[in-house]
Subunit: 284 residues, 4 copies
């Protein structure tokens, strides 16, 4: 079923739901999903509406300008319009650990992700064969301290060339520069291997072991310039016991990481995430 | 904040969301929450809307007839209107096990439940003192095979006399008659100590032990005439190990039971549950 | 069934399990449970053994000296001997929030905790009636900045007078002095309302809300002089959504807090916890 | 570190732990892990002991006969001896759904599973390319009603030829014959896509949807001749909501299935599972 999805944010005001739903109804749109959220602390309104296109009286190209003219302008809305038949284009960046990468490829392979994956970029050559077995081009761009700027430039060129919509850091162990991040605001999803804000930074499983915690976790978040501080999309945990060594935590944690990352990607793909400040609204 | 809550069900049709939100907006209602669900299999539409009353142009008494005239009729809606300042009246029925009872009393005591509890009814005298310590009348109605009909009659009289809106079976170990149940359709919440539909009926923890399961669970559901088959409101589980005896499962399970039951009560109190057939829509 | 429980810690060496089990067997002890753990990083060995007393050839009073002479000395063990028929004596300290207190009382009332509760101490008078309904003396000791030392002195006197073995801080909102803590090393159990080490200190639910986390948690730990840094006994989490306000997190979190605290108490009561450094071994 | 693992079952008697640990100590074995379990209902004793081989005074080949002579005979033990440096040989059988297969391959690829995978057998040709990308031979044996016996014969030949120790059914959608199963008692691990014993048989997600459950699950178990009734190794669940269609449950459930199956494989590989009757002891 062809559908359109509208993501809206604006100052909280009366009548927004009525205006949006009236707009959709007036053009014979069949609303499939409608969700809204008000953050009263900051007085902001967020909304997501999805409707069937088949019976809709406006053409795809008309929706945005007419909605802006009839509704958006009045409420000073920021809004984005998506169509479920235009697959987003996702790049994967990865280093040595393959569990998140392969989980994404597996879901892509079985058709769970409505996405195109034009390329995988890695600073290690290791997973070339596996990635290519899934029919996806693999770019090996070795990186060290001396060439970081140049490599980032080349990465950005590739993302540009392949018209990438968003980037997934599937355990990519390099810190992206502010320049890089500013190219993809709330469009770079990272998986951090702790339940943030605990254990920010490097080696969280070792830190968890040292602290003697009984649960470990993983956090998928949009990347911002402050390390591990971006808007959280999804988190989950696993139980550990006193006899689990850091190497056990690494293994136990990997299943959490990949599932959490996949859920975050899924929410992003289905246009269910609205990020603002260091928070997200997830309409699921 | 005083608010009104509208729960709607009708055949799925275009324009319902627009009509409802337009109605609310036309009387200056500030929508706080709006949720909808379509069950496409059966072609049914479900909706929940909550709005602030302060600025609303209709008086409490006017809302229902005017909504019916302007919106309800057109879409052949069944709908219910609630106000958050009218506390529902809840009766608790309990037998010998006290954990669910005391958990409810604890939440009532600390103000978590917006509810009135006019009475507790038990077929055992055991918990009279504890219940009364929380300021709630306790009715001991002993029951055996010979007097079941009479006792149920007396129970219904009490529920009627105390103008009870809904009933919670907090581990009440008698099976209610069809007559009793038909008095409170989707208004009797039971907690069953298994993750239904596994282990229907008596002694589910013993059955779970015999089967060698690694998780046990609990299910809160509305009571219907078919045993343990009513619409499920909430479920959860706990992990168990090979060394856990049935008596351990009973203890481990009690924490799950009481938390699941409390969540179901909370959803019911906040008018977030729409039951239909043997399913529930939970707008949380 | 009467049983003895031996908790051992010593340097890791060969032959410990053999020596202990051989000792028990030589006096006709029927081993019910045996667990051991080696922390290889620090070269420490931990063990728990439980056995039936009925057929055991040593009298209760003989076990400790004879075990010390025959086994303990050889391996330079620290060990503790418990009997399951000598109920530990637990004091509860609480402030205004009642959910953990009542959950403990509920489990005590239903016989889930093999414990005696000689008293509850509070710096607020609020819960006197409820506590006394469960048959437990309630001591109200008001506290402010001016009298903190004196009140702690009085608290310690009471704990002493009532021969209290360990203390549970059931949302007791005062920070204990180092002096107080040193009287009960690894014998004061606190519940902190976050998944430590995230959100140490005051108002963790508000901090969690500000950070936009998708899970909140609770941590039961032994109290040490460093705030919220003692050995963790148990942790768990609950999921939250973007629309949950800090006041919602407080409510959702309370069910986690009480269940986590109860589990920690249970482990402690069943002599399943060995604390060392800032870690615990939990033999369950 | 080279280690030996002993798995024991026998009638419950006094002195077993002492005899086993004394045996290990007498040959200078350093015990790494020791666990035991008594099923009092049936009077059976289960034990697992792991020890370092380096310092052990017996040669690999001597351990079994000498243990039998000195300990096993006396207690009429059934026991099995494993060495962690002899990797078990695991075959995977799969049909059309690839998520469990690829998750296993991914863990194999990253070195998480200490196993050899000599072959994958499928009744569909679909996943040949992916399997071979991981360096594993793929056998496509098409099956229909007319040739089931012959194909099973060929499958058994292959398992035999490749000296397979145990078989994983990674969503293999054919029911194995009793003959096949009797060749691998407690050595065939299946993943069933429900929390057994709920929703035995075909289409459990559709049945879960029809029943309106709030949690779905997955169960890894050893295959016995009675469908979905074998000893459960591991289970887990995921939450679902009213708007999730059967096709959503399938997707949500797949992450649970693969994680549960992987854990079961891991327990099996690390020799932590003792199956008896329709139960398992899991020493983790």
């Amino acid at each position: 079923m062809k559908k359109a999805i509208l993501m809206i944010r604006c100052k909280d005001q009366k009548g927004i739901v009525a205006a949006v739903s009236e707009f959709l109804f007036s053009y014979h749109g069949n609303i499939l999903e409608i969700d809204q959220h008000v953050d009263e602390e900051i007085g902001m309104f967020f909304m997501r509406a999805a409707w069937e296109l088949e019976s809709f009286a406006l053409k795809k190209e008309e929706i945005e300008p007419i909605f802006e003219a009839k509704v958006g302008k009045m409420f000073e809305m920021e809004f984005e319009l998506y169509f479920n038949f235009r697959k987003p284009r996702m790049a994967i960046m990865v280093s040595k650990l393959s569990h998140c990468l392969i989980d994404i490829l597996s879901k892509f392979y079985s058709g769970q992700f409505e996405v195109e994956i034009p390329l995988v970029i890695s600073n290690h050559p290791d997973h070339k064969k596996v990635v290519e077995a899934f029919g996806i081009p693999f770019y090996y761009l070795p990186m060290d301290k001396s060439n970081k700027d140049l490599v980032e430039e080349r990465q950005l060129e590739l993302l540009n060339e392949f018209r990438v919509d968003f980037v997934v850091l599937a355990r990519y162990m390099q810190i992206l520069s502010g320049d890089f991040i500013r190219n993809y605001p709330n469009k770079i999803i990272n998986i951090h291997h702790s339940f943030l804000p605990a254990f920010v930074g490097a080696k969280p499983y070792h830190a968890a072991y040292e602290r003697g915690v009984k649960i470990i976790g993983a956090t998928a978040h949009y990347v911002t310039e402050e390390l591990d501080a971006g808007p959280i999309i999804e988190q989950d945990i696993a139980r550990v016991r006193h006899h689990n060594l850091p190497s056990d935590l690494v293994q136990i944690g990997q299943d959490v990481e990949k599932v959490v990352l996949s859920k975050a990607i899924k929410y992003h793909l289905e246009r269910k995430v609205l990020a603002y400040g260091n928070k997200t609204v997830i309409f699921y």
